[in-house]
Symmetry: C4
Subunit: 268 residues, 4 copies
């Protein structure tokens, strides 16, 4: 592979060949975030303009998608930067008032680079049902453990104390169902957050279909998922790259407009 993928010792042995083309072009952080928004929109994270993703940068600032745009239209040029107080310091758009929730989590979890919240289609169904969906297949089991079910949210995501309470409830976990309010997913990088977000939606969708049929047999033996769960830590080989590539193929404008990009598309 010409494009860098996350270091995975198994992959060097299992996939030594370079590939017919680079899995992805070299991407700036803004391009990667714009692709992430679009890829998740396609998976069901599509409640109009709801939802935000923050990416922690090494200098203590954060990239975030703007308040004004839907996830399926955002381009690299639209990504804004906020400081640790959520004040916009780069970019022309505005930041959601809900940024406080993201910042509260980043403050407690320096192991994380990515924090995302949205009202995904199937995640919402279980968030309104008061239950965590069982793991009904191997794909659902790629991320170990159940989401936190956080049921004390009281209607707003802009109040500081509520944001802190939510961050507290997440604790050291990977993901959460917010009662009557969607999902919350974090990760050490976009590849990991992507796998967790699509796994959660898959798990919620499959479990609904299985349980409405009425005879589900969830996976209960943890050994069954041992190999699958290596994906969460090491990365599912090639998966994020394929999904990002699809977005570029379907609308190359997603990469446009980042002045630091090798692909210097004109802003739309």
């Amino acid at each position: 592979m010409k494009a860098p993928i996350r270091s995975n010792p198994m992959l060097e042995k299992l996939a030594p060949r370079p590939g017919r083309f680079a899995l992805l072009p070299e991407l700036t952080a803004r391009q990667e975030l714009a692709l992430f928004c679009r890829a998740l929109h396609r998976e069901g994270y599509d409640d109009h303009i709801a939802g935000h993703i923050t990416v922690a940068e090494p200098d203590g600032t954060f990239l975030i998608n703007p308040w004004e745009l839907a996830w399926d239209e955002v381009t690299a040029a639209d990504i804004i930067r906020v400081d640790g107080d959520g004040i916009v310091i780069e970019g022309q758009w505005n930041v959601t008032p809900a940024v406080g929730l993201h910042l509260a989590v980043h403050k407690k979890r320096h192991d994380l680079k990515v924090v995302l919240h949205n009202h995904s289609r199937w995640g919402l169904v279980w968030s309104a049902s008061g239950r965590v969906p069982p793991v009904y297949d191997q794909t659902s089991g790629q991320v170990e453990g159940d989401p936190v079910f956080y049921d004390e949210y009281a209607g707003s995501v802009d109040g500081a104390s509520e944001a802190e309470a939510a961050a507290e409830a997440l604790g050291q976990e990977k993901w959460a169902l917010l009662k009557n309010h969607g999902v919350f997913v974090v990760g050490k990088d976009i590849r990991q957050a992507h796998l967790r977000a699509i796994t959660l939606e898959h798990r919620c969708r499959l479990a609904w279909h299985v349980e409405t049929l009425g005879e589900g047999q969830p996976i209960t033996d943890p050994e069954t998922l041992r190999v699958a769960q290596m994906s969460d830590d090491l990365g599912f080989p090639f998966l994020w790259e394929a999904m990002a590539r699809k977005e570029i193929r379907l609308d190359p404008r997603v990469l446009q407009g980042d002045p630091t990009s090798a692909i210097k598309g004109k802003a739309k």
Copy 2:
């Protein structure tokens, strides 16, 4: 933002930045209505050529989509104008006989500019179930209160007395489920009617998924929705603009043909 958005005192403080591009081009009333038809068609208001939207103009006339066309093909040039008796006074198409229902509501509700009726996918399911769907998430709760469930409709929408009865049943409310016949939504402008229409469809869809799973926990504490419900009155920031922008992006012809438009597209 360069494009005018509805005055919202909170927004001036929360979103002071002008944006990388105008949220929407300046739109004529006809263009706005054509965009509204298309955006709702994409959300599930798609029963072939059923459904109409009237927009009250300051001079006592009404703009309306023509009888002959589906919501996903209408352009600004297709919008017609009727007088207070429902007689076409501008445009080349014909008006639905169902216009009487709209006019009866406009007559009683001078606080409203927009009246819409259609057979939306999920709205129909609940309209046939004899129940109002509970509010299972924050998005469903953006519009305060339950729809009127109007169950005395007797099969036709063109009789004057039936239209008056329906207008009577709506009273001072925002929306209604028409038993075995779809939905009815009104608003003080297109932004408000848009939020109500998509919220109703979302609420109906989510509630079906939650209740078929069998363990729904609806939101019952009104305080939970306090912030979300500010959207109905003040407008959900940037939402309508994003959905209208999507329609322009996917088919710019939607704006064509309005002689009063700044964007003077040729008629198809």
Copy 3:
């Protein structure tokens, strides 16, 4: 309207205006049939290459879509003509062995011009459930009466005696659910057959959603549907034209290749 629509005395009074453009171009019989295949495929009549539509011509022959092609790819040039014994007499493709079922119906029903069979998505569900779906909304009730539920089909549609038995079972009715085998719809012309086919699929889809929710309130008072049911006989104004127009807009090749057409597209 510049394009001819079926004579409907009410329409002359209700829709006197000519329209901004013709509702449809003048269509040959082959173009109309190709459009019908495509429009129904989009509505759920999409079981791969299954399904055929015959159109009786004044000279005792029949137009039919070819055996080899899917409904979503057929063009005017692909339509073939068979004689009263089902022998191909015009066109380059082959005819389905299932044509016998169609011919058996045409033989008994000289009031009909159109006979169609397919395995539509929602029609199949009810055909496998042993029940006719109740009428849960006005749109479902546009066609008066329940489909015949024909449960003696024994696996093949090419045997003459089975075809006659099926034709016998249909009798003077408009439509049928074939047990474990899809649907059967007839009409005096394509406009009527189109309305019946989309109404059946709508009725089946809505009824499934209502009954899985569990509290359906079907329409039982026939008076409720009196106006809606005028559509079956007189035609639902402008509906077929809008759906055919959509197919032309999305893929104008559908009209190509008919040597008798005013629009002389080149064969693909």
Copy 4:
């Protein structure tokens, strides 16, 4: 027909006409496999980059889609070749570690040319439900017999002994549901494997819809399916060709890049 179709004695009698155009262009083995991946992705075999298809070549090697790419993007140029031990001997991409499962089946089943595994949408639902879906319509019954329900899979597809156990469980059968892990389909060629794969997904989807409605009447008389089941052995006439043609129509790049192809498209 100008393109070769599988020899079917009935077809020579029933479909003697050559057709208006070739059903498919002449295809190389790589092009056929790329088309197969894309056609199944469209039918619900779409769990991101999961799933592989092996095609046995006369020289004892196997063609397979690469590990790195999703089924909806693969082109002829991307197909790789492995030897009997699963070592890549042609092509630039890498092979999935799951190839062992495929090779174990090919080793036991010299009657087969094609082995495929994926996590199809509706297949997964039943695989998690512990039951084989009944046959609720004729289309579902085109392939005789129930899938093997293999429930001893223990979490990995890369261990040799597990691969052999799975091959053992499949035995001489056509298809299997892998508990909590998707489906497994084999065939003597791509046409047969295609029919089996789409039939399994159709059967799973329909059965779910019928059983959630609650009153299913499965087909139990084998005589009912006698004619339909001829398709599995003789091939469903024209079906594979139509589905492959659709992929070419929607994205002709699928054929590109195979140096042995008559259609010498440039690699993307």
